[in-house]
Amino acid sequence: MLKKLITGALTAAVAITASINAAQAEDELFIPMLSYRTGPFAGGGIPFANGFHDYLEMLNARDGGIGGAKVVLEECETAYNAQKGVECYEATKGKGALVYNPLSTGITLQLIPKAPVDEIPVLSMGYGLSAAGVGETFPWTFTYPTSYWSQMSSILKYIDQNGGLKGKKIGFIYLDAGYGREPIPLLEQLAPEMGFELAMFPVAGKEMQAQSAQWLNVRKERPDWMIMWGWGAMNATAIKEAAKIRFPMDRFIGNWWSSAHADLVPVGETGKGYIGANFSGIGTDFPAIQDIIKYVVEAGNSQADPSTVGNVLYNRGVYNAVIVAEAISAAQKMTGKKSISGADMRMGLENFVLDQARLGELGLAGFTGDLKGDCVDHEGGGSVFFQQWNGSDFVKISDPIAPMADVVKPLLEEAAAAYKADKPEWQGQTCG
């Protein structure tokens, strides 16, 4: 028994050695994929990872990669756990990683300081540290297409547009963690400015499936609108509880991590009318998604359940991959090399252009708003649109609503300055 174990362990050690030391082959684009298909948030992690993976695989299958170089994906399971995230980072960064998509705010926070040291950019798309949108302070971190604060401002704008904000009571139910608490400063600042009243309903991470107390409080407070910053199993539970207290669903808005199929399908009819923010297209009616189905899903190279292709989070994964792919090809063009480095990738991320024309070329016309890489603005200033659950699927109900850049920007800069304050080594950094 023991002998077998030892032999096994030795073989494994040898294997690790062999694999890690394997020289990076010529003309390959190595992209580590930190995903989480296990743990409490796996429900959201799985479709996103599938979308990301399938788009890049589709490029490999259809176009032979990006700019003639094959994309090599290495998936590493983080279980949404910061410690495992470090392990994944260390396991992959030596292999010529171009960019990290940490897919977890906790891991992002750890990678931000490492990025300038290791010269590998971090792309935290729609999560992570909002302040990282300030390119001068965070030259290696990107939060395209937009930040939580921008999103919150767009949501408030939407509410304002649909019945006005002034004098209303806005309830904010959120996951009681860094992620959920992030928009609070913005809300607290805007409440007096825009004249609405604020009520907070924190949901502890481990209590996220027992929210009756929060919703009793909601009933007590009687807010006019509810905004949710939830994740994982919290979302569906919240919608059910809302239905229980007969809170009007069309006054209940979830942010982009709280309005996915994974959240609403379990709720079904009950959630009819629920509104969600989003920045990536829904459905499979895009040529590129069709290509994914054709080249990847049907070829059996996807882990995705075919019925989930085109879902909110799947498409968001696709969008993430699109940004990565566009940045790569931008970098390839600028350097003239097929195979690029992390520093090149940063250049690409600062210079790609993803306008409607380009989206059309990609087969994603109308998939999302314009996005342009920029050295100073790592947030991208992207807008969100709103979608509504009709009982079985999401329907887009608004055009993209631009964020209140004038409000958000100073907040971002303030936060960036605070971040930098106790980091002497960050003082000299700037973009470009």
Binding site: S212, A213, G232
Partner: protein
Amino acid sequence: MSGIFYDVLADPFLQMWQMPDFFIQVLWEGFVSGILYALIALGFVLIFKASGIFNFAQGIMVVFSGLTLVGLHALGVPAFVALIITLGVMYVLAYLVERLVLRNLVNQPDIILFMATIGLTNILIGGGQWIFGGETKSMITAELMIPTGSSVWEPGGGIVIFQHIDIAAALIAAMLIVGLALFFSKTKVGRALRAVADDHQASLSVGISLNQIWVITWFAAGIVALVAGIMWGARSDVSFSLQIIALKALPVLVLGGFTSVPGAIVGGLIIGIGEKLFEIYWGPLFGSGVEGWFAYVIALVFLLFRPQGLFGEKIIERV
């Protein structure tokens, strides 16, 4: 100072008085979650009574049984057939646990057995995710003919909403408890189980081996877990994060005593109602979200004054 006294001692009661319908609603919600806590605690008690094992895996058994049921249904198995197969799975689990774990750990200190159940927890989490995937699943409520909908009671202009599913949960829990009580007092096996709690030798005279009794108790705990899994799943989907909520059965046990079935029920209700009241009426003083620890701290305070629980006997130390 008077502000604090007012906030703590007067205002909450004032609120209760002013909004009686809401107060009733809070009590009801507390009652229902108390029932669910009690159900999970009941599983602990069954096993602790029969074998002295503190089964840390009870929480994950709730999740695992729920996942099995939903997973089977997703494969196209009709709901009630799936239910029966799930029961079978829980029996197999009980059997394997007895065979592979308990039998080999006879006469080990309690702490070793406790740690083994933590290991078991890991196995069930990994195995569950492996087989069923990590996504949140919705309970097949309708298929199991569990009523959804709700009824509204409007006492004096107020409004109290009763979810049918909660009523069902309370009823099923009550039936389960009555059933277990009958099982323990009226059947031979049940009596043997009670005997084993008092005296391992005595149980042998009933003609049932200790090993069989372990299988039966673990199976019974599995059934209770399945019921808890269904009810909880129906209220808020089946996901692995339920496992941590299930830990709340621990303070319930502390209150009720590790060996007392009525204790588990009463403890569950005290915790369920207590934490709702505290969260709603006193929680804002702490910035809300106190449910995560309130039950534990209450249990802790309680322990300091009555270490044997509400229904436990006073422990006399002997040397």
